[in-house]
């Protein structure tokens, strides 16, 4: 079967590269075709990349607390760019302050993200979710 294609990166003015590198490795090992945009990635760049590579999912990382601002309107832009229904994940330190994970998930789902993951999530959790959402059977 053709590999499922992921576009990953760290959004906004965030330069935290470590988690991004770990995720890149983990997704590759799990058998995905990964396009890694690295750090400091604007919304537009995620979307352009996803259009051009024909991505199945966009996975946005953010560690510096401004993720909520950076992710606002992303789903709408995806729709606009012809990526209607593309799988959209976010993970990291997604909001400012100590907020329960359920609340984070609620806020990100309200923005049109399919899933959101709190700090310290094991990459395997995300991989399992991807397999489920993309209908990949082991």
């Amino acid at each position: 079967m053709e590999k499922k294609k992921l576009v990953i990166g760290v959004i906004g003015a965030d330069v935290h590269a470590v988690g991004n590198t770990i995720l890149n490795r983990a997704f590759l090992d799990a058998g995905f075709d990964v396009t890694n945009l690295g750090v400091l990635v604007p919304q537009e760049e995620f979307i352009q990349a996803a259009v051009e590579v024909g991505a199945d999912a966009i996975i946005v990382s953010s560690l510096y607390g401004q993720g909520e601002i950076d992710c606002t309107g992303m789903r709408e832009k995806c729709d606009e760019a012809g990526l209607k229904g593309i799988l959209l994940y976010a993970g990291g330190n997604l909001v400012v302050g100590k907020v329960p994970v359920e609340e984070i998930v609620r806020r990100y789902k309200a923005m049109g993200f399919d899933r959101a993951f709190g700090p310290g999530t094991d990459p395997q959790v995300t991989i399992d979710c991807l397999k489920e959402d993309l209908g990949i059977k082991d």
Partner: protein, 464 residues
């Protein structure tokens, strides 16, 4: 003596350069009007006759030619995302010496199709999607192109997984399948496309444009003129196996209708804390500013830089500047005479601003970011700050005494500190107008062409 004749069929002039490859000397140059309407050979014969008046009746053992006559190599480029495949397609075409009439992205509309038929390009470059990436868009556009009335050849250089599908859709057209212009995101792969463009140019376009008569006389027209320029500059920068080049450089060709900028440099960041964004740049890059030129596109210079700057640099008041600009836009063959102080001043201002605008557009830019680690930067395009040589050519630059002063506008200025132009570069002037000729000569005699360029391109002072 072994004399070689190098010919540049330009849109206006046919320029000839005679070189003795034994002594590695330029024997002479001359020019005459291009005669595309009758037979291109006439203009060439006139130019050669003029040349022989100067240097005597010598026999040429070899002749090579490049051409930008009959509109040059006219192309349209089609991609998916404007900043990605469409940009890569455009850049690949420009690098092959083409004149890109228009670049299209996303799905072609009926109107676009009509426009393409109207443009009737020499070559259409169809791209879109990385390998394994988006298929729908390029297939849609192939279906659109299948309905075009034009007979132009189409190069298919998009997602390799649907190249055959596209060729099948376009089976009534002349198609060429080529490696993807962007097989992975942000990594353009322009060389295969450029080779294909050159192949088509040699096989068909030379003939179609009535240049093939010249072929009997010459060992073929080798390449479009901008491609010869690019070849020369790349050789000068990189050198050959036996002869060292002069290193990274920026080239400026200021014409009447357009301004071409070349850079031979990878343009990687020279400062710490700088992340690279966007398409990876080719070592040899050419951009064309279609709205910036000394006569036909004179208004474009004023639009881009502002009449106040023209006034400031020329020392003439704004009203007078406007009058002169209008006058020159109509009287395109006017050049400043010996004692025509006013025209000389306005041309100085316009040339300076044309170069400033065109090089600023060509060079990369920095954006500042505040991160947890302090100030960091994002670089788009090439960092040319460390480039040590700027080469200038074009009538407005080689026929003035203030070349160095004009060329200094290609350099970095603290007033626009985020624009990554050369900081401390020496200006070399192509006084004899030999760059394209040396590009041609280098196909057979690279060492000779390099040594002649090193000697003939003259220093014209430095700044900073």
């Amino acid at each position: 003596m072994k004399a070689v004749l190098l010919i540049d069929f330009g849109s206006t002039y046919t320029k000839v350069t005679a070189v003795d490859v034994d002594t590695e000397e330029i024997l002479g140059t001359s020019q005459s009007y291009t005669t595309i309407e009758t037979d291109i050979i006439n203009g060439l014969n006139n130019a050669v006759a003029l040349l022989k008046e100067k240097i005597g009746d010598i026999t040429f053992s070899e002749q090579y030619a490049c051409s930008s006559a009959a509109g040059g190599l006219r192309m349209v480029a089609i991609g998916l995302v404007p900043e990605l495949t469409a940009k890569a397609a455009r850049q690949a075409s420009l690098g092959a010496g083409a004149k890109v009439i228009k670049t299209y992205s996303y799905e072609l509309t009926e109107r676009d199709l009509q426009e393409i038929d109207q443009i009737n390009p020499d070559i259409c470059l169809l791209t879109g999607g990385t390998d394994g990436g988006n298929k729908e868009n390029i297939v849609f556009n192939a279906n659109m192109l299948a309905r075009s009335k034009g007979k132009f050849p189409i190069i298919i250089a998009g997602n390799r997984n649907c190249a055959d599908t596209c060729a099948e859709i376009l089976k009534d057209k002349q198609t060429y399948i080529c490696e993807n212009v962007m097989p992975r995101l942000d990594i353009p792969n322009v060389e295969p496309v450029q080779n294909k463009i050159r192949e088509i140019f040699l096989e068909q376009i030379v003939k179609a444009k009535g240049l093939s008569n010249a072929e009997q006389l010459i060992q073929g027209i080798l390449m479009p003129t901008p491609s010869a320029m690019l070849t020369a500059m790349k050789l000068l920068a990189k050198g050959t196996k036996t002869e060292e080049g002069i290193g990274d450089l920026v080239g400026v060709d200021l014409g009447g209708a357009t301004t071409d900028i070349y850079s031979m440099s990878f343009g990687l960041p020279t400062m710490g804390m700088t992340a690279l964004k966007g398409l990876r740049e080719e070592y040899a890059k050419r951009t064309v500013e279609g709205d910036i030129g000394m006569r036909y596109s004179i208004h474009g210079i004023v639009d881009a830089a502002g009449i106040d700057r023209v006034s400031e640099l020329s020392g003439l008041d704004e009203e007078r500047c406007k009058e002169l600009v209008d006058y020159l836009s109509v009287h395109t063959d006017v050049v400043p005479g010996e004692n025509d102080d006013e025209l000389e001043r306005i041309d100085f201002a316009l040339a300076s601003l044309a170069i400033e605008t065109a090089v600023t557009r060509h060079a990369g830019r920095l954006e500042q970011y505040y991160s947890p680690m302090g100030v960091s930067y994002m670089q788009t395009g090439k960092d040319l700050t460390a480039v040590k040589t700027v080469i200038v050519t074009g009538g407005a630059l080689i026929h003035t005494k203030r070349t160095a002063e004009i060329a200094s506008h290609a350099l970095f200025t603290p007033l626009d500190a985020m624009s990554l132009k050369p900081k401390n570069a020496e200006v070399l002037v192509d006084r004899k107008y030999i760059l394209a000729a040396m590009g041609l000569l280098s196909t057979e005699y690279p060492d000779t062409a390099l040594r002649i360029m090193k000697r003939e391109l003259v220093k014209d002072g430095t700044r900073n």
